[in-house]
Amino acid sequence: MNKSQKFFVGLGDKTIAFFTNVYDMTYLLLQTIKALPRLWFYRRQLIEQIYIFSVKTLPIAAIIAVFIGLGATVQGTYQSSDLLSRAITVNVIFKSTILELCPIVLSLVLAGKLGASLAAEIGSMKISEQIEALETLSLDPVGFLVMPRVVAGLLMLPVITIFANFLAMFSSFFVSAVISEWISPQEFYSGLEMDFKTFEMYFGNLIKPAVYGLMIALVGSHFGLQTSGGARGVGESSTKAVVISAILIVIWDYYLGRLLL
């Protein structure tokens, strides 16, 4: 093969791999939906995953949220206090933090934490024949492993995000009104209330992280189940899971944002 042929063969392989992954992930999602009626049957697994997706991620979510709140406030007040009234500055900080900054940073970090560990966990089960063992025990790997994780991600990421949003706002309040007395608590509060778009504030805040949670779990499970070739394969799967879910999250963030406006 000469150089140009090699290039096109490589390009073709990549394209095929891409669409195969899209197809497989869609198929996995459909299988997961098909497994939903068996949720009660797999309740133990679901409870365990809900625990992992919530309680175990709270500390990291809390740290991130507090510092997002602090950072956004310090920057926001410094950059725009000469341009805007203080209440409006607070309003801008508030909205950009809880609608964009907090959900997306949190989801990206959790894509790293949960997505990687999920892909590695399922991947190492795959290479050590545990997935096949499940089959011989008449337990559907999708129902037993994937579905509980997807449901937990779907339900718990919104919860964590709301929790994080509260913390971020609290830390923002703390730094601007309590420590520095840059703004009075009343003014801060009126800043929050300004032009409050109820639908976006409530639903946007629930729908986006729910989609990200589903995506993290689905992408992680997909690459976990595709794992082959020993410990190295497990490492590759978890890297792929993190990279792909991070890319999907930022892309969806834009489109969901537009859709939900």
């Binding site: 096949e132 089959e135 011989t136 008449s138």
Partner: protein
């Protein structure tokens, strides 16, 4: 490239059939095909006249009730304790009282020569030999009609390997299951087999009683 080519093999009720072959000849592929963990490109696999390959997903899971598989890597679920590994199948699929469940678990555990204190341990805390025993206990708890073993003695030292082959014989008597074993371990074959099939290059070159297996055949197999 095909791994297995034109294998034609009958398995009799209640026998222990050992499929002997060197490493990398498709033994694992073969035994997994027998329970449809791997779907062959063509061919037919019948249990009591019923075709396995055309069963629906649901029917396959019902068929799984009749089999138990001891994997080459033991394949215990590493996020579950030994107790949960042993009980998982019964808990998920059978209406069984907690007392019966406990009784059957302990019975299997003691049968494979392990003490109650391993129940709370996780697979990673056990030695390879112990894991293999737990895997056999997990198979026993199911009370299957067919028992499949993939290289049950590989990776174990002499003493442990002997204990495992002893267990295989005892378990066969205990639950009178048909046992199918793939291995490259000649000693295991001599210990447990009723009948032997020799697998090389994806073909079965010989099937017959254990005593018919001659040294020349083995030399040829492992040359």
């Amino acid at each position: 490239m095909p791994v297995l080519k034109g294998i034609d093999l009958d398995i009799h009720d209640n026998e222990t059939l050992v499929i002997l072959g060197p490493s990398g000849q498709g033994k694992t592929v073969f035994i997994k095909t027998l329970v449809r963990l791997i779907h062959p490109d063509s061919g037919s696999i019948c249990y009591d006249g019923e075709e396995l390959l055309t069963l629906s997903h649901k029917q396959l899971y019902r068929f799984n009730d009749r089999i138990a598989f001891v994997f080459q890597n033991s394949a215990l679920l590493d996020f579950l304790s030994v107790q949960d590994n042993l009980q998982l199948y019964l808990l998920m699929h059978k209406a069984i009282s907690p007392r019966d469940l406990q009784r059957r678990t302990l019975e299997a555990l003691h049968f494979v020569g392990l003490d109650d204190d391993v129940l709370d341990k996780f697979p990673e805390e056990l030695s390879g030999g112990m894991r293999k025993r737990v895997a056999i206990a997990r198979a026993m708890v199911k009370r299957p009609q067919y028992l499949f073993y993939d290289e049950p003695t590989t990776g174990l030292d002499q003493t442990n390997a002997e204990k495992i082959s002893e267990l295989i014989k005892m378990l066969k008597k205990e639950i009178s299951a048909t046992s199918i074993i793939v291995t490259h371990d000649i000693k295991l074959m001599r210990d447990v087999a009723d009948r032997v099939a020799l697998l090389k290059d994806g073909l079965i070159s010989f099937v017959g009683d254990r005593d018919e297996v001659s040294e020349q055949m083995l030399d040829f197999l492992y040359e």
